[in-house]
Subunit: 300 residues, 2 copies
């Protein structure tokens, strides 16, 4: 069988994942149909699905079928989606457009958007603790996955990154230190967690787990630098949102601190570091290499 | 040894739990000290600690030492606290006073309050998946506890109750149906979950689990009816918040639908039903009976 091009592989996997994501959805009680509508609106609005695809691809690189891990792949996308809804709220970034559509609170109101985010975050852990997973991995493994996700999404990861971003003017730190902290926590932690959870479920060796974690951290950083660059150079129609919002919001970004050219070099450097980590593993990581390349080269 | 009076028992257990709660707290990275401060502010602001005490007392009723379950008792209080912070936000109930103190967003701003709530909710699941628990119960049992909590706090419980409360004017339902749905989901689900998680960890029989779940549901309802009554008859100094807010917010309450006298009768009826469930178990439930009585008789 001829090997699929990465573009075809990615589209196929993304569509397959999205069919599971739609089906993963909890049927909420009738009086609160609006909650389901609001959750679905953001969850099924498209996106790159980078985190779940990283999780699933990591498992497949070890030669295993990754279908059993779908509840966990969905769970991490629930977390990512909740964070977007809350980030867009008026008391946060106050954004009105996301993926080319009105943001959740513009469409459903602030109260429902807040609660849809809360519900997505909470239901993530209901998905992760479904008994169906026990047919394929141990309860101990699932507990570890839950722990990794809760830490990387919470006070030791994403939420701390967001707080640091908001609070940076009150903290004595150089711009470079602050930038490094914010990006590692706000974006890097959850992307790293996706690779770690995949590694855990695939039961890779301790050494491979460590190398794959390193890979996750580097592409997390690469992803965020590229995100900052696209906010300067990107085109609204491709981005699905207006570029220039970082400048408008006075966000601390790589281009602001390092300039555009140096930022591009730093992104490439992260990509190279990521590949080096993959080379050190004992598994066939070609699809992860391609995913890393996609993160570096993306225009949206 | 003479049996402690319930008042002494309750104060002792509450203080013991609160010392664990304070120690359970994650040390967050330095640049986001404000996040820790904001989480601590609400988490350690007092309160009845009903949910964790129900969880711990359920275990003790079976003759077991409940200390090992402290991470889970703390976890459920994290969830309860997050829900209060988000409920108080301007886009929700817009409350400025909670337990006699300024609400979280008045003290720290809306953005930090939102994120402190998110962090408490997320960290709850980090606490529940700590490996220390595995010395005392199986990973499978902990997974079940996580599943119960995620479902009862999310789309099948608390969040749905909150949405139903907000949306009730758009839904074709009688006042009694709406009230029953809102209260069972918004308050009842998490209180029931506390008893169920305690029962699970104590490894009670299937029949006792079912009776204790019934007990949880009845005292959850009793608690909420009493809450509605206190909003009419309560005294600000005891409540720690201004009474009359339900009327101000046009909240659907038991006194509004049934009148004050009938509401008191309904609360007593729930209490009686709760005791009947306890009578049907094979364990010594005296402290749970006393907790139920406390729920019925409380003045704050």
């Amino acid at each position: 069988m001829e090997k699929l091009s990465f573009a075809d592989y990615y589209q196929k996997k993304k569509a397959y994942f999205e069919s599971h994501l739609a089906a993963s959805f909890p049927r909420v009680p009738n009086p609160v149909a609006i909650l389901e509508e609001s959750m679905r609106y953001s969850l099924l609005a498209g996106g790159k699905r980078l985190r779940p695809l990283l999780l699933l691809t990591t498992i497949e690189c070890t030669g295993k079928n990754a279908d059993f891990a779908m509840p966990l792949a969905c769970a991490i996308e629930y977390i990512h989606t909740y964070s977007l809804i809350h980030d867009d709220l008026p008391c946060m970034d106050d954004d009105e457009l996301r993926r080319g559509q009105p943001t959740n609170h513009i469409k459903f109101g602030e109260d429902i958007a807040l609660l849809a985010g809360d519900a997505l975050l909470t239901h993530c852990f209901a998905l992760m603790s479904t008994t169906a997973l026990l047919e394929h991995t141990s309860a101990g493994n699932i507990l570890k996955a839950i722990h990794i996700l809760a830490e990387s999404a919470g006070v030791f990861g994403m939420v701390s990154g967001q707080v640091a971003d908001i609070q940076r003017q009150y903290v004595q730190q150089s711009s470079e230190e602050a930038l490094s902290f914010i990006h590692a926590h706000k974006t890097g932690a959850l992307i790293t967690a996706a690779v770690q959870i995949g590694s855990l479920l695939a039961e890779v060796t301790e050494r491979d787990f460590s190398e794959l974690s390193g890979f996750g951290a580097e592409i997390g950083k690469c992803f965020q630098i590229q995100d900052d660059i696209l906010d300067v150079t990107g085109v609204k129609e491709r981005l699905g949102k207006s570029p220039g919002t970082d400048q408008k919001n006075e966000t601390l970004t790589y281009p602001l601190v390092f300039g555009l050219e140096k930022s591009k070099q730093l992104a490439s450097q992260c990509y190279e570091n990521a590949l080096r980590h993959l080379d050190n593993t004992g598994i066939n990581t070609i699809r992860l290499q391609e995913l890393a390349n996609f993160v570096l080269k993306r225009d949206h």
